[in-house]
Amino acid sequence: MSPKPHVRKRYWNEPEMGWYERAYLFEILRGLWITGGVFARNMFKWMTGRKGALTTYYPEETRFDYAKGNRGKHVLTRRPDGSPQCIACNMCATVCPAKVIEIEAGFDPDDAAHPKYPVRFEIDYSRCVFCGLCVEACPEDAIRMAKEVPALPGDDRWAMWLGKAELLEWQPQADVAKPYPPAPPRAKTGERP
């Protein structure tokens, strides 16, 4: 039995090449013209003291065009007396898909309303995916996410853990305006609550 001759499959979108493309050299020159042009343009920018690249020097230079809805940093809210609202129920730690939240619960017999409080509350920002599920899971509105991004780039990943103190005290301007408990919506005509 003679083997079946190999028939190359013809695809519907195969490019058709005319003599111009087949001559090869012209298309090469066109490609070189494009890349050379980009090179010349960027090089001219660099030499005249401007930046000729689209990328950023990451740790020194962070991008300014984060999306409007970007939430990059966790905030632990406080009660009026300054204690954290967190009741150490571990719901955020349970729901966290990246498993970055670690909470150690403590017992405070003096506070009858909230006997359970977090002794440690730590977030590993080197692994956090900023999904916001912890905020949704929280029954006490104790954790929120603010628009700012943590300025954490560094050489040491152990320095990327943020503890309770930072999370409590780090109060960005955008978040301070939100009081707890939330103020009742003002009923003014023509204005959103």
Binding site: G31, T35, G52
Partner: protein
């Protein structure tokens, strides 16, 4: 006698430092140029800290080459358990050495007359004049082809002695590809030999310092633009770089014939590749771009097309020629890097088809036309 030796050593030192310098600088140029071509910044993290201070010298990432070298020197020199250890160990050197040797016949400047440079030197050197070239050989171009042909042996040895199928495949590809393109390379240059009537590279450069039609510099690229294009393409294929990097073809063969090499042995292969870029630049400059002379320039000075002549002191001529040669070589190197970061890789059958069915007929046609034209003009 001693004076000749001193001059020879001086030239050898200059040539080696130029080649090593180009090899080192080109790694940086390749990175940075690729980055700038694609809207990126490029390698910029390696720095040298001045001791006892916090001053970090980054210098646009220039020290990444040093970091590379250190890495290669300090890495484990892994050796496969091969049945031919000697061939395995000697192969990188067989690739590396001929590349350096090719430069011996390339003139990097005109004549150097020490006495004209500085009068007190005349007491020692007399009025002797030295061509700025390590070996002034009549057979210059033949030597170039003889030595650059040797690198095939290194690639084949490396692939064969590694006892690795990927290496062997890469070596076979390297062998067939380099032999094919060497043919094209030789045929493109034959046209120039017909025109200049010599294979002495220095004589070729001197031929190119005149003019054509009264105003064009008589460069090889003006006589043989077609051959220049073919020469550059074949030379890049000889160097086994993208778009002709089938012997390495990372996506198919890991690293081709140096898959089993590590540390500085691999570094030698890489370094040979970068130096060969400079060698190709030097050869292209010498054959097609008027060598070490600026347009309308010769050892005496400028002879501008309007009839005006500008005489230059000997020192200025020497410096201009050395600088011009380096600049031309650098431009050609940069153009090769532009090609490398623009074109995609060929398929293997396309590489050989391209050599035998496209470039070889074109080179032969070019040669025939040149031969007829030269015969027509001479008779």
């Amino acid at each position: 006698m001693i004076a000749d030796l001193v001059i020879a050593l001086l030239f050898i030192g200059y040539a080696i430092s130029v080649l090593m310098g180009f090899g080192t600088i080109l790694t940086w140029v390749e990175r940075k140029q690729a980055a700038v071509m694609s809207d990126r910044i490029g390698a910029n993290r390696a720095y040298i800290r001045i001791p006892f201070t916090q001053v970090k010298l980054v210098w646009w990432g220039l020290f990444h080459g040093m970091a590379d070298g250190l890495k290669m020197l300090l890495k484990e020199d892994f050796k496969p358990r091969t049945y031919d250890w000697y061939a395995y160990a000697v192969a990188p050197w067989v690739v590396f050495t001929p590349v350096l040797l090719v430069f011996a016949v390339v003139p990097f400047g005109g004549n150097l007359t020490p006495a004209a440079l500085w009068a007190p030197l005349g007491e020692w050197f007399g009025d002797k004049s030295y061509p700025m070239q390590i070996a002034r050989l009549d057979a210059g171009l033949l030597i170039v082809f003889a030595f650059s042909g040797l690198t095939i042996i290194g690639a084949m040895l490396a692939g064969w002695s590694s006892s690795n199928k990927f290496s062997l495949l890469g070596a076979l590809r390297a062998g067939s590809q380099m032999i094919s393109y060497e043919l094209v390379l030789g045929l493109t240059v034959l046209g120039l030999i017909l025109i200049y009537g010599t294979v002495d590279l220095d004589a070729m450069v001197r031929h190119q310092s005149g003019t054509v039609l009264g105003f064009l510099p008589a460069w090889g690229i003006v006589y043989q633009p077609f051959a220049a294009t073919l020469f550059l393409a074949a030379a890049i294929a000889e160097n086994k770089r993208i778009p002709f990097d089938l012997p390495e073809a990372e996506s198919e063969l890991i690293a081709g014939y140096f898959t089993e090499y590590s540390a500085m042995k691999m570094g030698l292969f890489m370094f040979a590749e970068f130096i060969e870029i400079a060698i190709i630049g030097a050869l292209f400059t010498t054959l097609f771009l008027g060598g070490y002379n600026l347009p309308w320039m010769s050892d005496a000075g400028f002879a501008l097309p309007g009839g005006a002549a500008v005489a230059m002191p000997h020192g200025a001529v020497v410096v201009t020629q050395l600088g011009t040669f380096l600049l031309k070589v650098f431009v050609v190197c940069s153009f090769q890097i532009l090609i490398r970061w623009t074109l995609p890789r060929f398929r293997y059958d396309q590489v050989l088809t391209f050599a035998w069915k496209f470039m070889l007929p074109l080179a032969v046609a070019n040669l025939c036309v040149t031969a007829v034209a030269v015969w027509w003009i001479r008779s």
